[in-house]
Symmetry: C2
Amino acid sequence: MQIKDLGEFRVIDLLQAITAQKSTVPIDGDMPYRLMVDNGDDAAAWKTNGGTELFTTDTMVEGVHFDLATSTWTDIGWKSLASNISDIAAMGGKPKYALITLGLPPETEVSHLEDLYQGYSKISNLYGVRIVGGDMVRANSIFITVGLVGIHSGQPMVRTKAKPGDLICTTGCVGSSGAGLKLLQESNNVSQNIRDFLLDQHKRPYPAVETGVFLSEHGVQVAMDISDGLADDISKLTRASQVAARIYTDQISVHPFVKQAFPDYWLELALHGGEDYQLLFSASPQLMANIQSELPSSSSIIGEIVDGEPGQVTLVGPNGEFLSTSTSGWDHYR
Amino acid sequence: MQIKDLGEFRVIDLLQAITAQKSTVPIDGDMPYRLMVDNGDDAAAWKTNGGTELFTTDTMVEGVHFDLATSTWTDIGWKSLASNISDIAAMGGKPKYALITLGLPPETEVSHLEDLYQGYSKISNLYGVRIVGGDMVRANSIFITVGLVGIHSGQPMVRTKAKPGDLICTTGCVGSSGAGLKLLQESNNVSQNIRDFLLDQHKRPYPAVETGVFLSEHGVQVAMDISDGLADDISKLTRASQVAARIYTDQISVHPFVKQAFPDYWLELALHGGEDYQLLFSASPQLMANIQSELPSSSSIIGEIVDGEPGQVTLVGPNGEFLSTSTSGWDHYR
């Protein structure tokens, strides 16, 4: 059996099960370092005397996650750190220290690496991240792994606590990054300013750190970032919480430029585009009412948590018609 | 200019300089998270209210760092975590939480990943490490990046504080791993028990965590792990401290099996073999006298820190003859 046969998520489940079954290391054996969030969330978390620490990692591979024909090295630097910052944002934390690992062929131009680090400098200064080291290794094709530690003053938001009756909210528009990617892949006679906007959304995402901190400070307990596509990520969140979800497609925030560029395809992009790095969270109707006025203007309540098959997401169209969606996330291997 | 022209270490210097020059993030701006050890040491370190945190990462690439024809997946799991644990040991810390990133082709056998995780389970249980997550991505060739967080109760040992007059000590034999690798690469009519021993030294290194903690608790301030070869690593340590070193080759601890298997080549293996994951440290003669009786039996004082060109390592043979060595470390790109 190969990875592509079993599928990414069942392989990950299997490896997590081995890790959990075989580990003899107590999760709270060595106070004050007590593990709070284990495998399967956006970041791991543990409590120390000084607060809560968050730890995440994310990798980009040339030809899979980026294409040097359409992205600059500076873009790649920005985005490879952004995806990690977003994992910290999803827990309500602040990103702090990063290690950068580069797998590079010997023929890599040094000037390209300088460009890459321009991207790291820009986004790390903007988000208060300090790059404290890393590793550089020879490889046949390019890959970049970022490890990032963050901090949180209390209890991080997780995927596992959604309850039936909770409302589901997104903190901004979805589909814009996917629209930008689609413009890179095929011809489209959209205007230059729309094109520029959407390409920028794809290449330079801004993780929602401030919003994540706001949510966590105001009592939201359930969140994740939208990296693999809204529908897939809702499915992951509900699977982790052993609940289902109902989503009203006409409530999903989609930027007007996405609808203009893709009048027949914008909903598909909104549901499955990925890499928007907005946050997805759930909260009780009362809590949602308390915080809604202070959320970003493009945030939207898009549905609700319901009882049902874990991970099942039911889409309800603008006329009340039911549409079903897959319960599987975006699989790198299929 | 390409990486292979400039060389790995000058590229790393360049990227560290960009990081340092461009960063506007204050290293002590957000107490209680104060950066103590920045780029260029075995691990980054920062102080929290709960103690000191250490953070390191290390990557292995198929065909560069391991060969599936001669290593099992279980071995690769063990070793890819061992190299990170050794970075924490080098600072005098205890390893704590690990994230595993796998770059894998879709055709990878799932049973191989189970074997890989057997290796992770074995070494992580032995060293009290908890695997708390990671990432799996599609790639054309296999790579493994481990990120590891460790803890320390005080001031981590670093590479930058060696002083002229310090004695230089290694905590165990060197050259055994390199001898094992050489047995894999060429024929040798050595006995089976010697062969088994040396292959095991190569495939299953045991990082010196206990010894590192002992050294740090007893006041040693300068240490690193021996991963790229004794001579290269001494050169790195002395370059970081802006000093030079004199090494007496007949004081270097080499296992008798290495000498038996390679009677004409053991010194070369001891100096340049790498991956022994013993510790290299320096301390004043008085401190060394205080702790020496409690060090592992194969530890040895092999030389001294002297004034001189930073990174220059002078080798002194058994008859007092001078031999010079390169001041450059093992370059993955040359």
